[in-house]
Symmetry: C2
Subunit: 296 residues, 2 copies
């Protein structure tokens, strides 16, 4: 079997077009514009790139966006004050604080200060809890939510299938498990979650109908770790040295793409698979936040 490569850029574009239509509808019928505030603390170059991408995508889709940049020496109280001001600002429906903040900042306290109704990253415990309980008036974290949409738009229904997740992070593994197990359309999976303390990860992934690799190890998942015809979703983004590449490195996922693609039925590439979905789902969440705050 040679896997279909799932085109995350194309699917993200579909989602973004739906979002742009929603934004236009909200403007036309309700005279409201979704607003997203992105708070960047310090000058981490990767963070600056992500924040720039989010602002640009917002503008493209008609979402009002506000970028707040604080000095890298900002205090906890300064950050909290900005968050509180954004909480109270009716033109802002979604707030996110670009991760990671500098070391003097206690991220957990910041996350808990964001109004849950504006927590479009789904980092606040109340939204995480709603997700696990199967309640739909919160948000889903953007990366696992994007994976659900990738599956759906590729015609892959996880219902009754065995999904094996590698990695138990709070932003991918645990919410992915929570979403896939729900009694809900696009879910209903039997779910296994493996991690650094799992003695023999391959013994689990070999049985999986769908493997989701989010372990942060370059090309960890090899062909002999998946069964024929499996669906393979690669959440990893790792830099590996490549003297032939212009920058001296190239990006690879957590999956050994070429050999796994020869065996799988569907696979996501890196880059261009899961990555583009994350921002698309953030935009969708911002629109949902705007709708809920306006009772639409």
């Amino acid at each position: 079997m040679v896997a279909v490569s799932i085109d995350g850029k194309k699917i993200a574009e579909e989602v973004n077009q739906e979002t742009a239509k929603e934004v236009a509808f909200l403007a036309r019928s309700h005279n409201v514009q979704p607003g997203l505030a992105v708070l960047l603390i310090g000058d981490n170059p990767a963070s600056a790139v992500y924040v720039g991408m989010k602002s640009k995508k917002s503008a493209e889709l008609g979402i009002y966006s506000e970028k707040i940049v604080l000095d890298r020496n900002a205090t906890q109280e300064e950050v909290m004050a900005v968050v509180r001001k954004l909480n109270a600002d009716p033109s802002i429906h979604g707030i996110l604080v670009q991760s990671p903040p500098p070391p003097q900042i206690e991220e957990k306290e910041i996350v808990r200060t964001i109004l849950p109704s504006k927590d479009v990253d789904c980092f606040h415990p109340v939204n995480v809890g709603k997700m696990l309980l199967g309640e739909t008036d919160g948000f889903y974290p953007c990366t696992p939510y994007g994976i659900l949409v990738l599956l759906e738009k590729s015609g892959i229904d996880p219902a009754g299938r065995h999904c094996v997740i590698i990695g138990r992070s709070n932003i991918v593994g645990k919410p992915m498990m929570s979403l896939l197990v729900q009694k809900a359309k696009g879910a209903n999976s039997t779910v296994t979650i493996c991690h650094s303390r799992t003695p023999d990860i391959a013994s689990h992934t070999r049985r999986a109908d769908i493997v989701i690799a989010a372990i942060g190890k370059a090309e960890f998942l090899k062909a002999d770790m998946v069964k024929d015809g499996a669906v393979v979703i690669d959440v990893g983004i790792n830099r590996i040295k490549d003297v032939a590449a212009p920058k001296g490195y190239r990006l690879v996922g957590d999956v050994a793409f070429a050999e796994v693609a020869a065996k799988a039925s569907y696979i996501t590439p890196v880059p261009g698979g899961v990555g583009p979905m994350t921002i698309a789902m953030l935009m969708r969440n911002a629109v949902k936040a705007c709708r809920m705050q306006n009772g639409i």
Copy 2:
């Protein structure tokens, strides 16, 4: 192999003794007494029995308890008013609303009205979210928390072992999965969760080091569904007809006890296994709530 039968009554008693010591310490050193309010709506006889057990255990351990009984025709607003009053009452540290309430009551709204710091059942989304995120300043739901303690006090460390949970309820299956997967002492399991949409549950349970059955089907788990030496935890409580029994029925779990016990290394009986732990953990949660509210 013939399994060791895990004595839940005895382990619950140990936990209760620890709790009673904590209560005595809080009285002696801080002059505070944990207070638990139990709200019963209507006259469901099973609910009345549970509420009575909770009041009795509170009294035994030195916890102040208050039982509020509302008429079965109580309105949503009446229930909410009681909850708000308890939220504001400094002598009450834990609040629980006995489930299920009568049909005119929207339970989700009641649960969300309980102050999270007093939500000793861990039904509020913010506490559910903290649990999934691995944050320890909330509560754990009493039944899965009790199972962790049963394992610990039986010398069974789930770290690196494969736990297979049958059932995805919000009070057992989902929180059990969340607790066992954490990077934490007494957890660190590889976890699989099966449910009504899993095509072949036996294919999963047969591979498990620890099986946790919470599916609500009498004697569902048979000997041929577990591997030799597995640990089997039975959360079910089902009535089955038994003309020889004084009441015309007897209680059985989700596990076919005799045949599975012949194969397992440890097993919990029904009754006398998981059951007694639930109230013991509720009492522990009430003490934790009191400590947190008093900054102790």
